[in-house]
């Protein structure tokens, strides 16, 4: 169903303005200048064009206004009654003026109407001013964006406070509310203030209720007892309580709400929506169209294949969760709760959640590194088997090594044959492995062994007397220059006199520059 948006109706200008507008437009859009020497039919043409243009414009504008303005027959009786009210509201003098001006006024009034869709289902809140309707709406709309997400949206309409005046004296806004009540398809929660904070006593509110009741005949009604946090029904006097029981007896459900504590707010919403839906279904069923529909419908039911029971599959988790929700079990204790309990003593111990084969080992400190090796690289369920094989292999090898000549004895024999004095065997280098803990501390550094080599440098690498002599001569030769120049060594590049005076002073003749 179309959503009326009266604000989009084109503005209707007054008659005088209308004419002015059109003429200026013509002036702008059509050629303005004629020359004297034009032929007569050309001039005629020119003026006809202007006339035609004006005519066209008028026609367009008026038709637009007409189409935009809603036809009384087409629109919902809701708006129709509104319009009637408006016409009654506008003073009669306005009607006698030119019709355009009247139309304009009507349009303005229409645009002020709220954009409500009369055909969606609405819970329409009614009640005295200050009763808590607006706060109710706030609560509901914050909880659900659409009041009930059915395929058609619902909308909640807030009726500004209805004062209890006789019908004729009620002002236009109130009239609007009342007309709305009459024509919308709505469920009506009537909001009452139990604590009488709104300024009207319970009796007054009830009177209003009875007054408005004839409007509610076809609509499902709920009595909402608001502000129950301040005062409960049970705390009321007996008479008052009786009223509520009467109401309930008549078939209007009474629900206690408090917009502060949010009790019962959702209940009201769901109840109103449910009742309205049921109501609508009922009316449809009673109507004529239903039979037509029914004739065309046929419900096909598949025949049973066998006697096997095929119940719907509900996973276990869902069942347990539902049970839990019903019973409202206390939640599992969380880490955060534990942390708050223990405060300073709390240590985050994630190892307790580990899933190991033996749960007693959960809190072990696991070693990762040993002597420069990663333990994780060695872990293998078949470690022991491998080790056994290795050991076997090692045994074989050691046995083989024993048959081989011992490397140390070989050493000793060979060195004896070469003439080395083998008496001081205790100090021998090749037996370092036995001496490991004793005096080997200075000897075990590589740096020490490099600084005192066993062969003297002047004969290392030389195997001839001639070579030795030559090496000596070379050495002396290299040192001659250094010694002559008074250098400390081959790396001494010290200059004693950077700027000798005899070279840098005086005239440049006689070749002074040659010696610089």
């Amino acid at each position: 169903m179309a959503h009326y948006n009266f604000k989009k109706i084109t503005v209707v200008p007054s008659a005088k303005d209308f004419i002015d507008l059109k003429l200026s437009k013509t002036q702008r859009k059509t050629p303005a200048v004629i020359h004297q020497h034009y032929q007569i039919h050309h001039i005629g043409h020119f003026y006809m064009r202007k006339v035609k243009f004006t005519q066209q414009n008028y026609h367009d504008r008026l038709s637009q206004i007409l189409t935009d303005f809603p036809k009384l027959d087409d629109i919902h009786p809701f708006y129709w009654t509104m319009l009637l009210k408006i016409t009654r509201a506008t003073p009669s003098t306005a009607r006698q003026k030119q019709s355009l001006a009247y139309l304009e006024q009507v349009c303005q009034h229409l645009s002020h109407l709220p954009t409500t869709d009369p055909n969606t289902r609405t819970p329409l809140l009614c009640g005295y001013p200050n009763v808590g309707k607006s706060s109710f709406i706030n609560k509901v709309t914050r909880a659900d964006v659409d009041v009930r997400s059915y395929y058609l949206r619902w909308q909640a309409v807030d009726a500004p406070g209805i004062l209890d005046h006789p019908l004729e004296y009620r002002n236009t806004i109130v009239m609007q509310a009342i007309t709305a009540l009459a024509h919308l398809r709505a469920a009506v929660p009537y909001v009452m203030d139990l604590s009488e904070q709104c300024g009207h006593g319970l009796r007054e509110q009830l009177e209003l209720f009875q007054n408005i009741r004839p409007l509610f005949i076809n609509k499902p009604l709920i009595v909402v007892a608001n502000k129950c946090d301040v005062k409960r029904i049970a705390e009321l006097s007996e008479d008052d309580q009786k009223i509520f029981t009467d109401l309930q007896a008549e078939g209007f459900p009474v629900i206690k709400t408090s917009t502060l504590t949010e009790e019962g707010v959702i209940k009201v919403k769901t109840k109103a929506c449910d009742r309205l839906l049921a109501h609508q279904v009922e009316t449809k069923m009673k109507g004529n169209k239903v039979n037509e529909a029914l004739n065309r419908l046929h419900l096909a039911v598949p025949t049973r294949r066998d006697d096997k029971e095929r119940p719907p599959l509900i996973p276990e988790g869902v069942v347990t969760r539902r049970k839990r929700m019903e019973m409202e079990e206390p939640k599992k204790k969380r880490e955060r709760d534990l942390e708050l309990e223990m405060e300073d003593d709390y240590i985050l111990d994630l190892q307790k959640y580990w899933d190991l084969m033996n749960s007693s080992e959960k809190h072990d400190k696991i070693p990762e590194i040993w002597e420069g090796h990663n333990i994780a690289d060695y872990i293998d369920p078949a470690v022991m088997k491998k080790l056994e094989e290795l050991e076997k292999g090692e045994e074989l090898r050691t046995a083989a090594r024993e048959y081989d000549s011992d490397s140390e004895t070989v050493l000793e024999n060979e060195s004896c044959s070469l003439g080395v004095d083998m008496d001081n065997k205790g100090d021998a280098h090749y037996s370092v492995q036995e001496k490991k803990g004793e005096d080997s501390a200075p000897h075990s550094s590589v740096a020490w062994s490099r600084s005192c080599p066993q062969t003297p440098r002047d004969v290392s690498g030389l195997w001839d007397v001639k070579m030795v002599k030559k090496a000596k001569i070379m050495m002396k030769n290299a040192q001659k220059k250094m010694n002559r120049l008074g250098k400390k060594g081959e790396a001494d590049r010290h200059v004693f006199d950077m700027k000798p005076k005899h070279l840098l002073s005086g005239k440049r003749k006689a070749g002074k520059k040659d010696r610089r």
């Binding site: 899933d355 990762e368 333990i375 060695y378 060195s415 003439g419 062994s449 001839d464």
Partner: protein
Amino acid sequence: MRIEKCYFCSGPIYPGHGMMFIRNDCKVFRFCKSKCHKNFKKKPNPRKVRWTKAFRKAAGKELTVDNSFEFVTRRNEPIKYQRELWNKTIDAMKRVEEIKQKRQAEFIMNRLKKIKSYIKFRISKKSSKTSMLSEPLLQAKGSIWNRKWYSRCKRMWIWKTNQ
């Protein structure tokens, strides 16, 4: 926590040391010290740079193929912690390391022995050529050779124990 291997020298990189370089093809290079890093940037192949372990293995100066090396493998699926298994593994590891080191030392000794015998051969060759050599010098030479060899052995041993 893991001890990584340096890409260049194959030494251990303890946590908190060294640098990591990631190339555009997502290959990761770890270096234990700036020496390795700088050498890497100069582009030579570590297998040709004499002081690296990669060179030594490639040149056959160290034991490369052995049962004891198969205990260390990178496993893709981590095994859940079991105290028993961990204890056993650690004991096994210690024993394996012992055996490994023994075998490596043996390999080097064998190699040096071979070298020694070759050197000896060379000496004998040389001595056959030069007959002018005096006895004491020959003795000295012999002792020098031996001393050299001993010194080499000792240096080798020291280096090995430091590894």
